[in-house]
Amino acid sequence: MTKPAQIGIQILSWALLGALVLAFADGPAFDPLPGDHGRLTLAIAHLSERLEPCRQLSEAERMELPPTRRVTEVCERARTPVKVVLIVNERMLLAREFEPSGFHDDGRIYLVERWPLPAGHYRAELTLTGRTAETSRHEIFEFSLPHRANAVVDVEDHEIRLLNVIGRNEEHTKDQTS
């Protein structure tokens, strides 16, 4: 093979590597959302009610305890599961019961779920229902979801907020006992 042909192959080889790098280093483009959609995220970090209410100890019971541990009240650690229902524009996106986290079911209930939704106006209804004495929560948000917007309904213990988009909390029915 002649020298120029060899140099040609070398240049071609490096160009091949360069082309391969360029072909995948910066695209093909990918869109996590379908065209003209936004996203609704439901994020929950919620400490539910105790399964059994705390109980006052009687004086006799207190006396049985070692002197340094004479508490007035004992509480079971376990907390109730919570049923979460999310209805958006009459469509049920989620209806599931969630267990508390932790080995003794004593932690918060955690959830992060996302749904791509066509850009538009929405009415989202969120209901949290405990199994026993849990107080129920029911919130309705009205908001418009622009293209690409990331609307978040955030439940952090007793606070329920609509984040990242402009909307209206239509009905506020806090602490309705079930």
Partner: protein, 514 residues
């Protein structure tokens, strides 16, 4: 099947050899090129780090400043850093596929294979944390996706994804942690990982030839000048990022999260890794038995231990009471049965008057006695050539020539140099043509190099100096290039016959003068 694939690969590589020559063929240096690209990423990364701000607020602006305010330095460095990391993935995948195609996961090579597997993860995590650090929309996407992946594992009680609900939710400390992993943690881990990967490979080729380094750097520079890397718009949690010009070399698995779930992506990644790691368990690859030492012929010279490409030979104190300090001992778990040690042992000389011929160390399935016996039965006629080759290189059987006796060895390094002398002086061959793997591509890594050094008197036990080097030729060819081998045989024969004519002429002249 692997045989056909290996031949196909050799044919493809031959095209590159025709341009680069065998000794600079990039396919022969894929592991080393991976290291080279990682080096380039390290050096450019250090430059970027000088100007980079590891805080959530400062990161994006600092990368923008690097890219635009000093495009001629920081911008180029950034592009080279990105493209070098991508080229490293290309070379890594090619390296893996090549080792796989050539069946180099079998036998004791399982160790290099298995320790290579986690390197893929390390490299991918390098890329993911790197994209996170730019904190543009792609960084946001990568952060949210990796958080979703981590949430699919039972590690954290509080989901990682909660950190990315709003701009104010993101922890600056988490961001600094990611930067720390990319800048300090992973560089240390990958150096250790590569060291581990090469622990059983003696004299590994860690650096490619200078010519390939120059080509790599030049290619990256050209890409960086003509297609400089830029950022997406800054991260903004109120928006879903997109459309994104993904770097598919590193992020290809993330879009699967949207299409399926974090759990599915983990299953795919873990399943793929296990499948890859399990390759050494595949049946097939009829393995020869490891080398054996024969103490009566071992003088403890250490040549074999010096030459073994896999460090399978230890020199240990003598156990047979003879008056030598050391003896060779083979660790069968490390021995790939290449036979190179038989070529290193001075006792392998076929001139020794002993039948059968024994030696200090050799393969029980391919003894030096068999080599001497095979060579001692040359075809009749003048100008017969001994063609000694390697079973991983060009196929000798395709040279259909009744004045050639061909012997294929497990590796050309198995050939004791004295055999060449013996073939011509004792048996009467007119010449010896040696045919090993292509330059810098010895299947057993070092056999071809040792053979060259032995016949060039640079390595003991060397060829006797009185042997006419004009009657010894070397022809390194890849499988499939038998046409060139045939041509080499013809050319070699013509040269030897010319020598013979010269010698006859000399003889006649001497007669006349006498």
């Amino acid at each position: 099947m692997t045989g056909a694939m290996a031949r196909g690969l050799a044919r493809l590589e031959s095209w590159f050899s025709s341009g680069f020559l065998d000794r600079f063929n990039p396919f022969h240096f894929l592991g080393a090129l991976t290291v080279c690209f990682l080096w380039i990423a390290l050096v450019t990364g250090i430059y970027l780090f000088i100007f980079y701000r590891t805080s959530l607020q400062g990161a994006y602006a600092s990368v923008e400043a690097l890219t635009h305010q000093q495009w001629f330095a920081g911008g180029i460095m950034r592009s080279v850093h990105r493209y070098a990391s991508d080229a490293a993935v290309i070379c890594l995948v090619a390296h893996l596929l090549r080792e796989m195609t050539r069946g180099r996961f079998r036998g004791p090579r399982w160790f290099s294979w298995l320790t290579g597997t986690p390197l893929i993860w390390i490299v991918v995590i390098f890329g993911i944390t790197g994209y996170w650090m730019v904190w543009d929309e792609m960084g946001q996407y990568v952060a949210q996706s990796t958080a979703t992946l981590l949430d699919a594992l039972p590690i954290f009680t509080e989901p990682m994804t909660r950190n990315f609900l709003t701009d104010s939710a993101i922890g600056g400390r988490l961001f600094t942690l990611i930067a720390f992993i990319h800048l300090v943690g992973l560089p240390i881990v990958i150096v250790l990982g590569i060291w581990f990967h090469l622990m059983r490979v003696r004299y590994p080729r860690i650096n490619p030839p200078r010519r390939l380094v120059a080509g790599s750097v030049l290619t990256l520079l050209v890409l960086s000048v003509f297609v400089p890397v830029t950022s997406h718009p800054p991260a903004d949690m109120t928006q879903v990022p997109g459309p994104l010009e993904l770097d598919w070399f590193y992020l290809a698995l993330l879009p699967l999260i949207e299409a399926s779930s974090g759990g599915v992506v983990w299953m795919l990644a873990a399943g793929g890794t296990l499948l890859l790691a399990a390759f050494p368990l595949l049946p097939g690859g009829d393995r020869r038995k490891p080398a054996e030492v024969y103490l009566p012929d071992c003088s403890g010279c250490s040549y074999c231990a010096e030459d073994c490409p896999y460090g399978a030979i230890d020199m240990v104190p003598r156990t047979d009471g003879r008056n030598f300090e050391l003896e060779a001992r083979v660790n069968p778990d490390l021995c790939v049965a290449c036979g190179i040690c038989a070529g290193s042992c001075p006792s392998s000389s076929p001139f020794r008057q002993r039948t059968p011929l024994t030696t200090g160390i050799e393969l029980p399935d391919w003894r030096v006695d068999e080599l001497r016996a095979r060579l001692s039965d040359p075809p009749a006629g003048r100008g017969v050539i001994a063609l000694i080759g390697c079973e991983h290189a060009v196929e000798l059987a395709r040279v259909d020539d009744d004045r050639v006796l061909a012997v294929s060895l497990p590796c050309i390094g198995m050939l004791p140099a004295s055999t060449i002398d013996h073939a011509m002086r004792r048996i009467g061959y007119a010449g010896v043509l040696l045919s090993g793997c292509a330059d810098c591509d010895c299947y057993h890594r070092l056999g071809d190099r040792w053979m060259h050094e032995r016949i060039d008197w640079q390595r003991p036990p060397a060829l006797r100096r009185s042997v006419s080097r004009e009657r010894v030729e070397v022809c390194n060819l890849k499988p499939g290039r038998h046409a060139e081998l045939k041509a080499a045989v013809a050319e070699f024969r013509a040269r030897i016959e010319a020598l013979r004519d010269d010698e006859d002429e000399l003889d006649r002249n001497t007669e006349r003068c006498a």
